[in-house]
Assembly symmetry: C2
Homo-oligomer: 320 residues x 2
């Protein structure tokens, strides 16, 4: 696959599955998935060949909470397995809703179908993230509850900016998508592939070359960049719940970037304009994609996904 | 793909993930998955091209129990979504353990890797199973608890032969594997594919052609047959926790079938030799596979999987 701008990897944020005020019923999940599917199909109809990835933060949190609340009876499983479960769950929602929207829109010849794959992503054993967990997962606790759980389980808690204490887990840097050549084969064959869900199932490689799951959650945009770069797609689009990248975000002098050169964006990134765990990894993923040879990276609001691709909304990052 | 006997679909029973006495810890799951992986790799080393499917009964039960026990806080999801989660969970266990054993055994050239796909399987809206639920899922309850839940939720309970009452759900007949052409593409390309997990995510087709999940659990051997037949594999192997097919099973005059012609096996099946929900669907799956043009179907013990393929253990079903 060449660096063709019409090959596109779309990274969907949490609002592909949850909107404000949702209770998290099956109906809520489907309604949101269909909304994301409509954006994706509109892009497909423009002639793009599409690969889709998605986050899983709230859903991996739900599974971990299920495990925690039932641990008197059912032994809790590990975070890599919980991540794998979210790939089945969310991959199914996306595959079915995208294929139903393709059918409704009469898209036949250009797409064979939609398929989600269970997908491992490799991180390093010596990643500095292991000693500095930053990614919030699971429920909110009081300080007292958090201290008790920390003592019992060795978990690490941090105060959440939204209030309360939450468990934090390492978020090591992804560098290899294990099943990339299967994904490439399917994309080349005309399938829309859902892959690297939730940043991928986190694995490390042992000295003998074998893979092993680890207790971590990988950032889905950074993992999406690894997949986008190794597939060789030309365009990488991050769709989230803000309408683009801002300097001085939330301050009186905030300024939205419409089109920005990667060198300029990297300067802003180093100046600390973008919040870690929020816009930070999205901007970093876009920078890496362009520096690794990508043609265009876009960051914008999911509900304006089509306009983002067209460059009429969001932020476009270009080479040089 | 021709009806080549060296293309094989292996259906793994529950003992691929759980052994007697297991508590269901992550270590238990991995130990069992590695044991199954060793059997599969031994078959791969014989030159077979392998597709793998697996059951999910206990695991879908665990997820439904998690949901039930946390319903005060987290809205329970539907059974199709729970099934999709088990495909992620168990597909990951199998993909990682098989690929690690392939590496350890030095299998390189013949296999590109192992990949699990999220896979929907179509059933019919007018299947008689909808009005006669038979498949046990989830926890065991007392008669009183079962009556209460039945009144509250409209669930149907039946006494379990192992004691207590359990929810029963419909197990409609599978007839179409939705993602089969993606699976075929990957198999032809040299991948070991894990597919149709737990009998597949159950879906029906609406009048407009769209797919929709339904509250059911499909028998994994019957769904495995649908996949095996539509892939055109020559050999279909069902590995379980008994060492073959018996007439008068459990009676003093029980007799194991070593090699049996499909016409004879069908006669025994119609005579009611095989327990519904147990050996019955396995025998039916083998019969269908051969009648649909398959060359050989085998049923035997997982731990003797290699000998089963070689015809030295288990039961072999042949055409005519």
């Amino acid at each position: 696959m060449s660096r063709d701008e019409r090959y596109i990897l779309i990274a969907l944020g949490g609002n592909a599955f949850q909107s404000k005020g949702d209770k998290g019923t099956p109906e809520d999940y489907w309604r949101n998935a269909y909304r994301a599917a409509e954006t994706i199909v509109r892009i497909v109809k423009e002639g793009y060949r599409v690969v889709v990835t998605h986050g899983n933060g709230p859903q991996v949190g739900i599974i971990m909470e299920w495990m925690e609340r039932s641990k008197d009876k059912i032994p809790p499983l590990t975070m890599d397995i919980a991540g794998a479960m979210t790939q089945g769950w969310l991959g199914y929602l996306l595959a079915q809703s995208i294929s139903n929207v393709l059918l409704r829109e009469g898209v036949k010849d250009s797409v064979k179908g939609v398929v989600a794959v269970v997908n491992q992503v490799e991180v390093r054993r010596d990643d500095p993230a292991w000693s500095n967990p930053t990614k919030y997962v699971g429920s909110w606790y009081t300080e007292e509850e958090a201290k008790k759980l920390a003592a019992e389980k060795g978990w690490i808690f941090k105060p959440d900016p939204r209030g309360g204490y939450r468990r934090v887990v390492p978020s090591p840097n992804p560098f290899n998508n294990v099943e990339v050549s299967a994904i490439k084969r399917l994309v080349d064959d005309g399938w829309i592939v859902v892959a690297s869900g939730g940043g991928g199932i986190p694995v490390v490689r042992n000295d003998d070359g074998s893979l092993q799951g680890v207790e971590a959650v990988i950032d889905k945009d950074l993992a999406g960049e690894v997949l986008a770069t190794s597939l060789g797609v030309g365009t990488f689009v991050i769709l989230t719940d803000v309408d683009g990248v801002y300097l001085n975000f939330g301050k009186p002098d905030q300024k939205k970037l419409d089109v920005v050169m990667v060198s300029e964006l990297e300067k802003y990134y180093k100046e600390g304009h973008f919040a870690p765990g929020s816009m930070g990894p999205k901007v970093l993923a876009a920078i890496r994609f362009i520096k690794n040879g990508g043609k265009r990276a876009m960051i914008g609001h999911l509900y304006n996904g089509y306009e983002v691709i067209k460059g009429r909304s969001g932020t476009t990052v270009l080479p040089i």
